[in-house]
Symmetry: C2
Subunit: 496 residues, 2 copies
């Protein structure tokens, strides 16, 4: 039976660069030999004294390794004297012909589920990494201007005032004082109809999207997405087995008419009415009503993503679509990624009253809720008026930065980049000359040290004029000017 | 057309208890009247001066409300003089016969998706709430003995040393220093084979379960679960459209033989090999190998939930099942809910190498990653040896508490409750007299001020002898003794 003499099993052991204790290395080596079939059931191992001498280690080391293997069932009853490979192991291994310690993943079929493959088929990345935070990477607020020290002081205070029990399992739908504060904030500032019980605290918009698709749609169902639009919505849908149907935009927002043609069976529409992502179009009242009527007629859902509505630079923000109809067909999503900072990973769902409990449960079954300390800190941040003050400051700052972007763009780039002033948001679209290729321009800019997302990266099916999505919120005027100067160098070479 | 004269629209306005500014109340009232169809397209509103007198408010209030309605598109172009209801709104409303402002959710079909209904069908609750943390509620570690002040100090330090950019969007799979520290910890203490890239930081075991089911299984696929077992696994599966197949346990752990009969098509097995939840059975080496062989033959997956393996009171913990085979069919799940505290909501997946990237993406598409600050704090906690020290302290404490439970149970309850000592865990099973009904006993205990989870609450299909799952980790000896005294009062009344 044996292919190699016993001493060869041990002579192959190299202590080498391994920093683990020797007894662990020996344990591992013997275990592998058993699983490989080099050591077989019933076979006797060398006495610890003998092996210790052979390997040049202390007898204790060998005894520790043997003891450990015994406690795990690899070595068994020393009848009288001697240590033997356990009867538990190898018969079966030999029988099945499978060597558990060998080789790569053997599989006839695909490794992932269908929905897993659909999701994995996407380009990873696609969302901004903090490491490369330079103009004009979009999606990030002014991290350098966030009052972190005040935030962490508040966190420290909350950490001392929460009782021990708060650090056990809490309400998966969220910390009640936060849900109360949020409900009041959303009623007052966004015209959202809601009670605290309808508010579900989640880990950002992405989770809100994933949870909503999961709870409201079945695999194979279809849903409208704005085209161009937020790629994260598409990703969440694919992961949930839902089929996204791109619907074109008009000047008033998503075209309900086109949607009914492209996806007459759709069960949901994902929209960004306050400030369409990324074009900035504000959905008109008429279009909002049309969409609500469609949802009511079709028994479909509207996912209203209000991701940056807090940043409106003139006038009061438009009220949320959710607040218009009493039909309860709109699920409202919000995030603190733009208002505070992305790495907080905190957002919320306002579920229609009829869905509040199912959403609470779905959140519980998904991850049992958010971390308590950050929820408690955020509750205090809202209750004590810090959020309002921060938003007031940021509105001024972002407005200035948008103005700087437009001013320097006109000055340095003239007609080669046209940016229209907007009342809202953290980014703007810069339109390129008609026949340019925005992906190619973005690639050239990247080499020149400027990040700019090509608008075509947000489109699915409906071609847009070439453009660049330019985040301006986190960058100082000098940075903006410097980046536009580099951009001028690149755009000058474009055919006019 | 009109059903009521214009002045009636406004006479219905009651300022009453509403604390919002009057202009907002007026705005809301007019908006509702438009959406209700009380005010129709093209209809003229009273001049602001007139309405102000009628309502007894300042003219500014009315003008603010009008202005706001105009900016949202409800009121439109005053041709010459006067304010009119916009043309955008009501035609369509009248046509469709739908009143957007009316009534409850009208729907022909069910509100939720099939998977949503499957998940919502469960009893909510079922996991411990911190509010009722009293003996013997299981699943919670010794919160009162956790060194929160050291933890928060570390958090404060990390908050000051992380750069601003760290608070943007980071790596969705987790903060790399934490993944590195965890990989090292798991290799050394649990025998898990892994590189940092295989470690995905998630929001606790529940998310690890949900993500794994989502990525590896399709709706309609089936998966083995231990019976009795962890209810959270069943919940996650239902939410993902996966069919859980209960498989009975033997003395060596889950019965692979019975599993192959009950669910021959299963694509996954969810197991707790180190310390079966809730019975405490340790899966034998032979059974582990059998399960690994089944997975390899079947191209199925093993989800190894190692939820409390750190708490072994004598000897070294058994190595993880994941470390046995090189086949890469085991996905390893761990949590910090038992080791640190549940409200941290932090756990991890160790994906097989071939699945590391798909898991990273799935986490990104699900929620874009965990909060940075707690990850950075945890990384330092591991790197600086705090975790090891805390675990050493807790092992001693929990061992003492288990001994106290057994000691006082024998003394006060004798044969009416039999608890077998265990080398591991945060809870034990107390076996009741043969013919008792554990749910009924638990209900009586609840009234007597003692929480005890009936074992039958963890079973699906295979009847167990009556028992109670008794958490002991967070309770002091006096609390344990007191609870057992109350229990004695209840159990004495049981028929012998």
């Amino acid at each position: 039976m044996r292919t190699e003499p016993l001493h060869l099993v041990f002579s192959a052991l190299e202590w080498g660069a391994d920093r683990r204790p020797k007894y662990l290395q020996l344990y591992d080596h013997i275990r592998q030999a058993i699983l490989n079939g080099q050591l077989r059931s019933g076979e006797q191992l060398p006495p610890s004294r003998v092996l210790a001498i052979q390997l040049g280690v202390s007898r204790t080391t060998v005894m520790q390794a043997y003891g450990h293997l015994e406690s795990e069932g690899y070595l068994g009853g020393h009848t009288g004297s001697g240590t033997y490979v356990s009867e538990q192991v190898p018969g079966r291994l030999a029988l099945s012909g499978l060597s558990l310690a060998d080789g790569p993943l053997a599989s006839d079929g695909p490794l992932l589920s269908e929905r897993g493959r659909a999701a994995a088929g996407f380009q990873a990345g696609g969302w901004p990494k903090a490491q490369n935070l330079r103009p004009f990477r979009p999606g990030v607020p002014a991290l350098w201007d966030f009052p972190f020290s005040a935030w962490f002081r508040l966190m420290g205070r909350q950490s001392r005032s929460l009782g021990f029990e708060a650090f056990g399992y809490g309400d998966a739908a969220g910390y009640m004082p936060l849900r109360r504060a949020l409900a009041m904030y959303l009623r007052q500032s966004r015209g959202v109809r809601c009670e605290p019980e309808q508010v579900i605290i989640v880990h950002g918009t992405q989770q809100a999207l994933a949870l909503s698709c999961q709870l409201l749609l079945d695999p194979g169902d279809s849903a409208w997405i704005e085209d161009p639009g937020y790629n994260g919505a598409k990703e969440a849908m694919h992961l949930m087995g839902v089929r996204p149907i791109p619907v074109p935009l008009g000047r008033e927002g998503i075209s309900v008419e086109a949607g009914m043609k492209a996806g007459p069976e759709a069960r949901l529409a994902y929209v960004t009415p306050s400030h369409q992502y990324p074009t900035g179009v504000v959905m008109s009242l008429g279009r909002r009503l049309e969409l609500l009527e469609w949802a009511a007629r079709q028994s479909a859902w509207i996912l209203e993503d209000d991701y940056d509505s807090e940043y409106r630079y003139s006038g009061k923000p438009l009220a949320a679509l959710q607040g218009i109809g009493r039909e309860g067909r709109a699920v409202y999503l919000g995030t603190f990624s733009k208002v505070l900072f992305p790495a907080l990973r905190m957002g919320y769902i306002v579920a229609p009253p009829a869905l509040a409990e199912p959403f609470q449960r779905a959140k519980a079954f998904t991850d049992r809720g958010n971390s308590i300390l950050e929820q408690a800190t955020l509750a205090a941040y809202l209750e004590e008026g810090h959020l309002e003050r921060h938003l007031r400051r940021m509105r001024l700052l972002y407005k200035e930065r948008q103005e700087a972007l437009i001013h320097w763009s006109e000055k340095l780039l003239g007609d080669r980049l046209r940016i229209f002033p907007s009342d809202t948001g953290l980014h703007a679209v810069g339109w390129l000359p008609e026949h340019s290729d925005d992906r190619q321009v973005a690639a050239q800019l990247m080499e020149a040290g400027v990040t700019a997302s090509p608008l075509s990266g947000y489109t699915q099916q409906y071609r847009q004029p070439p453009g660049l999505v330019l985040g301006y919120a986190p960058y100082r005027e000098e940075q903006i000017r410097d980046a536009l100067e580099r951009m001028a160098g690149v755009l000058e070479q474009l055919p006019a």
